[in-house]
């Protein structure tokens, strides 16, 4: 149902919203990045982002998974210590997210991997960072004032000048520093029919996440993460 009905629903709504406009024939990723900063077009962003994330999730799973390739295994072990650690982190993050969302495995530059979670229809792409939605606002530290929490959560503003503390950032806002390579869809309609809500400790999110680990298509993940330097570009 998550694929056939939900994806169809997202695309139907997205098509009806973008019909006749400039973004009628653009890809879901382009639409999401375009409308990330526009609160008036929040529905368009939501549908586009959900369609994209959902399709991404289904592209990374396969009924007949093959074992992880050696290069990918080495890279992940360098970042996480061991593959078991990565598995544990992903599953724990996924089960502890209260509410719908996605958990992503992202690759930054120079073979650094990390886990990112996006609530609801949040997007991991740096171009849509305004709607990354990485935190559940209700679980913040209420001992600190909300203004301070907000300041700490968002990226620094005082990045102008050459010598400021925050101004050594090497990238413009929206610059590519994250490459999402794997994700798990933790919306209820994905796991509910097969795993139930998890009442009584049976089934639920944790069981779904655990069995998801065994159907990950590591070949697709490797291709997503791989960056082949083409000789004709490099001098």
């Amino acid at each position: 149902m998550a694929w056939t009905q939900y994806q169809g629903l997202m695309l139907e709504k997205l098509s009806s919203l973008t019909a006749g406009g400039e973004y009628e024939f653009k890809t879901t990723k382009d639409i999401a990045i375009k409308y990330a900063r526009d609160p008036n077009s929040a529905p368009i962003f939501n549908y586009a982002s959900m369609a994209h994330n959902n399709a991404f999730f289904f592209s990374t799973i396969t009924p007949e998974p093959k074992p992880m390739s050696a290069e990918l295994k080495k890279d992940l072990e360098d970042s996480f210590g061991s593959i078991e650690t990565l598995q544990r982190e992903l599953i724990v993050t996924a089960s502890s997210m209260f509410g719908p969302g996605f958990v992503w495995l992202v690759k930054s530059r120079d073979r650094k991997y990390s886990i990112l979670c996006t609530y609801l229809a949040g997007s991991p792409y740096p171009g849509a960072h305004y709607r990354r939605q990485p935190v559940d606002m209700n679980t913040g530290d209420t001992s600190v004032a909300e203004a301070i929490r907000r300041t700490n959560a968002w990226e620094p503003v005082n990045t102008v000048g050459l010598h400021g503390a925050q101004s050594q950032k090497k990238m413009a806002p929206g610059g590519i520093d994250l490459n999402p390579i794997l994700c798990i869809n933790m919306w209820e309609h994905v796991y509910l029919p097969d795993y139930g809500v998890g009442a009584g400790g049976v089934g639920g999110k944790k069981a779904f996440a655990e069995s998801w680990w065994h159907v990950i298509d590591w070949e697709v993940v490797r291709k997503n993460a791989e960056v082949n330097p083409q000789k004709k570009y490099l001098t």
């Binding site: 695309l11 997205l14 009628e24 024939f25 653009k26 890809t27 879901t28 990723k29 382009d30 586009a48 369609a51 994209h52 959902n54 399709a55 991404f56 592209s59 530059r109 590519i176 490459n179 999402p180 291709k223 997503n224 791989e226 960056v227 082949n228 330097p229 083409q230 570009y233 490099l234 001098t235």
Partner: protein, 436 residues
């Protein structure tokens, strides 16, 4: 008083600059000026020092960069004040630091190192670009399948192939729209489907069939090593003509055809170079003299996108037995071209489709020709009279002996198929707009 002070300033600056030049020549540091100078109390000369500083800043570049001519120096004192000089330099340094001006602009500061290594930043940019392209390739299509739709630039970047020609595409490109019925040429009646809103409608099947035939002709000519000229002189047709010529490895023309380019080619194309290539399109050495004297080349096929405005070109082609392909509208004369393609020549989209299709056909023909050549099967003949490269002919003459007549004429040796009667557009200087 003021004028004397100003004179003094000027003298002092000039002498400082001369010292600076000498010092830099001797490669000593700025701090170690070991000139004999009397220690003068700065306070007494504070006003002049102030003036010196400001003048140096304002005219710093000129003052420091241009050493005084030798003749003038004889009239000046060479006495310099260490404190003044150092004060000026410090203040200039501060000035540059404060304003962040680029020191590299000064001619004397050529010993400065650049702020970052340019080669490293280039590599970083390349890496970032590759990463971006990779992410785009892996993730941008995910989410939905976009229905095929019209994107104007795609007709030029990625033109349709002859196999992609459908009646729907031709109709969407407005190829069926002819001219007003009163303006028609009755010779075109076999291509017309009917009348609508006072305008003749060209039959789509006829357009498709003739376009496919023209594509086959273009492909065949390209396969056999022919030179194809694409002509489109109306405004807006330049891009499609250039693209088609690029794909078919032929020549393009998007400005006025100079009458006589074929019939009087040796005059008009005198500046165009001719070179001899082998079966794999590689230049062959040893034909320089012959190539320099060779007659001006003629196209083997001419594709005209607006024949109504290019009568002279088509007439010249007819005189010289050069086959032509042309887009014939309902008011054009179909007998002007060998292979008419009945379509709307006023619609740029239609022209882009037709030029794109013919360009793709040429590309396919070239590809097949080169593949056959790699296997050793050359699909064309060298022109008569080309002979062999200079060294080989000399060898043959020596081997044949002094008394025997020199070998001439076409020597077709399958092993060393060297000569080509076709030259590449680039070598002929064919980037000029007004020539082929």
């Amino acid at each position: 008083m003021k004028s004397i002070e100003q004179e003094m300033c000027w003298m002092k600056i000039c002498s400082i600059s001369d010292d600076a030049v000498r010092a830099s020549e001797n490669a000593t540091s700025a701090d170690s000026f070991n000139l004999e100078s009397s220690q003068v109390d700065i306070r007494q000369h504070s006003r002049s020092t102030m003036i010196l500083r400001n003048v140096a800043i304002r005219h710093g570049r000129k003052a420091l960069a241009a050493p005084t001519p030798r003749s003038l120096l004889r009239t000046l004192t060479t006495e310099t004040l260490v404190e003044d000089r150092e004060a000026i330099e410090h203040s200039i340094d501060n000035h540059w630091k404060e304003t962040g001006a680029n020191l590299n602009q000064l001619y004397t500061t050529n010993a400065l190192h650049p702020t970052r290594d340019p080669s490293e930043s280039i590599k970083k940019v390349q890496k970032d670009f590759i990463l971006r392209q990779h992410i785009k390739k892996r993730t941008s299509h995910i989410g939905s399948n976009i229905t095929p739709h019209y994107e104007p630039h795609q007709l030029l970047i990625n033109p349709p192939r002859p196999e992609d020609v459908t009646l729907e595409l031709l109709m969407a490109s407005q190829s069926h729209l002819g001219h007003a019925t009163s303006l028609w040429n009755p010779m075109n009646q076999r291509y017309i489907y009917g009348v609508r809103q006072g305008v003749h409608i060209i039959s789509l099947e006829v357009t498709a069939a003739h376009l496919r035939r023209a594509a086959k002709v273009v492909e065949g000519v390209a396969y056999h090593g022919g030179l194809i000229l694409f002509v489109g002189t109306r405004p807006g047709q330049a891009a499609s003509v250039v693209k088609a010529a690029k794909l078919a490895q032929g020549c393009h023309l998007f400005e006025k055809w100079i009458p006589g380019t074929i019939t009087n080619g040796d005059q008009i194309l005198a500046k165009c170079e001719v070179k001899v290539v082998d079966g794999l399109d590689k230049k062959v050495e040893g034909f320089e003299e012959k190539a320099a004297e060779w007659k001006a080349l003629r196209p083997d096929l001419v594709v005209v996108l607006n024949p109504r405005e290019n009568y002279i070109l088509l007439h010249e082609c007819g005189l010289n037995n050069i086959p032509t392909v042309g887009v014939i509208d309902t008011d054009a004369d179909p007998t002007w071209v060998t292979y008419p393609v009945p379509a709307n020549d006023d619609s740029l989209r239609c022209i882009q489709v037709i030029a794109g299709v013919l360009g793709r056909a040429g590309e396919a023909g070239q590809k097949k020709r080169l593949e056959a050549a790699k296997k050793g099967d050359i699909t064309w003949l060298p022109p008569p009279g080309l002979g062999k490269p200079k060294e080989e002919e000399e060898k043959e003459n020596k081997a044949a002996g002094p008394g025997e007549p020199k070998g001439k004429g076409v020597e077709l040796n399958a092993d060393e198929v060297e000569s080509g009667r076709r030259s590449r557009p680039g070598s002929r200087g064919l980037e000029e707009e007004d020539d082929d």
